[in-house]
Subunit: 338 residues, 2 copies
């Protein structure tokens, strides 16, 4: 079996840690591993397969001899260092938003559009976490009937804003329980026992950046530029799994039965059906955390629209929402190369 | 000014505590106050206007001489004790779901349908908390254009399940932060750093009881039996204010402008507009907690439907969602009597 020289840019972040763990547990065919980070974190050491690996400073010269470079160090570092990585011959799998809407860059969820990988010119983009977990529930339904419109409301975990944000949730909660004043540092508003509209910039349409990603990335991944989506993105005091309440409208007269939807979801790779009405057991972030699958349930015909259904889902934001999907892109690419 | 003999059945609960506080702060024209509770809590004393009041055992004989009886002791106690209270001549304002859908019982949000109070036959029902906060945002919009369909996803606080549930959220969170095992007692699932589908029974349609309340109570309050609503009700780790993400579809071609909507909301009594895109400041439960007004914002035209808008709201579940609305019903009734 062929083995690969792999680099991780952003190895010390929350997604970097999961990338390392997945390379280990999935027995990724590694020839070598290079860990990269910016000034703040370079010089640290991380454990991998029982050995200590030193984190090197990310630079334009970091990618000589590298076959696959995972980027998870923010959009500006991707814009700066992905082109030299490609020039050095690496395949870049980028977790930032820098290249996602570039027509020359495939935007891939392997269970849905792995074939798009073939069109890459050196960079493959990993979609936004909220988009990935949404589409893992939408794609199986599109195999049953055309999907016309989606109304999504998110319940997004702190992890989406990084390791420091997860820590802020825990620290702030501790202070709040002890009735001590809190000072928000990572998030603009208190996150302990609170929730707020996603802290990204709002444009003239009134949508924030996270919501625009869900709309435009979904259309690109599904190859459906006419797909109508509205989303309201909300941050909640949950550590690391995103949930979404989703209303899905099918083409007129084409709504599938609940049984057909359950079967399609249960059979779709990467989805786990959690839909037990008797036990009141449906997708929950604490059960989605640490799992590869996106949990989907609360499936029911919409009483307000004869063409629509409602459902609820939870998916690990760091796994399928980021690190796992990136690793799966690399695995699909390796399979295509044969 | 006329004064009234008032009783509170369920005086020791979370809503009872707010009823007491509101009777005090709003200078309710009290002639006397009788505090009632079941065996578990009878005999305790509660402070009111600087004096200690003993809580008596709720019985069929509790209501002699009472003019207004607030009930907040659960549906079964309302069903048992409201009829004898009415027979004794009291006006019952019932916070439970026992009589809400009874055609002979007005279901009232005073800012919206105070006139329905006139039709009472001894009982006036206080709507479900999620319904009240939703309709406080919907009613002003119906003054601008007909509302055809509502898609709501809720972010409901622990308070909706009572004082013990609020305490469970705090205690469980404390245990979780200290990495100690937790045992859910009030809620069926862990609530610390988690969220889950509302813990009420699900019927054959797939909707739970809370969602059905939002649908059917809204139609009754708005006198609009054709109003189409779907709702997904989710419990979140927030102490006492409910939030909702709401998509609202108007009659074809009738969508009002964002400015018209903002003005209508800002001018509506009981609503506060919180909609600052520059500062990323929108309704949040920690800011809604303790406030009489329902906070509404994130108002924007829906990019997926030219007749629809999206918005987000937060309202104190114990205040406008329960105790405040009940007191307002009594105040409106007193004004009508002149």
């Amino acid at each position: 079996m062929r083995t690969y020289h792999v680099a991780i840019a952003g190895a010390t972040g929350a997604v970097g840690a999961e990338l390392l763990r997945l390379l280990e547990t999935r027995e990724f065919p590694l020839e070598s591993l290079r860990l990269l980070a910016s000034e703040r974190s370079a010089g640290r050491s991380l454990a991998f397969r029982g050995r200590s690996h030193r984190v090197e400073l990310l630079s334009e010269d970091s990618f000589r001899g590298i076959d696959i470079a995972f980027f998870s160090a923010g959009g500006s570092r991707s814009r700066q260092f992905a082109p030299p990585a490609v020039a050095a011959g690496a395949l870049v799998i980028d977790n930032s938003s820098a290249f996602r809407m570039d027509p020359a860059v495939p935007l891939v969820i392997p269970e849905i559009n792995a074939a798009d990988i073939r069109d890459h010119r050196g960079i493959i983009a990993n979609p936004n976490c909220s988009t990935i977990v949404l589409l893992m529930a939408i794609a199986p339904l599109r195999n049953l009937a055309p999907v016309r419109r989606i109304v999504a409301s998110t319940y997004q975990a702190a992890s989406g804003a990084g390791a420091q944000a997860m820590q802020e949730l825990l620290d702030q909660t501790h202070e709040t329980l002890h009735e001590r004043p809190i000072v928000p540092r990572v998030f603009p508003h208190p996150i302990a026992f609170n929730l707020f509209s996603h802290n990204t910039a709002i444009d003239e349409t009134g949508y924030n950046e996270e919501e625009r990603k869900m709309i435009f990335e979904s259309r690109k991944i599904l190859h459906d530029p006419a797909l109508r989506i509205t989303a309201t993105c909300i941050r909640v005091p949950v550590v690391r799994a995103h949930s979404e309440s989703v209303n899905i409208e099918f083409a007129p007269g084409r709504r599938p039965s609940v049984d057909a939807i359950r079967t399609a979801l249960a059979e779709f790779p990467g989805v786990a059906l959690v839909d037990d009405r008797q036990a009141n057991h449906f997708p929950m972030p604490i059960e989605a955390s640490g799992r590869d699958e996106v949990l989907v349930g609360r499936i029911r015909p919409d009483l307000s629209n004869e063409d629509a259904i409602d459902l609820f889902l939870s998916g690990d934001q760091i796994l399928k929402g980021a690190a796992l999907n990136a690793i799966q892109i690399a695995e699909a690419w390796m399979r295509m190369k044969g």
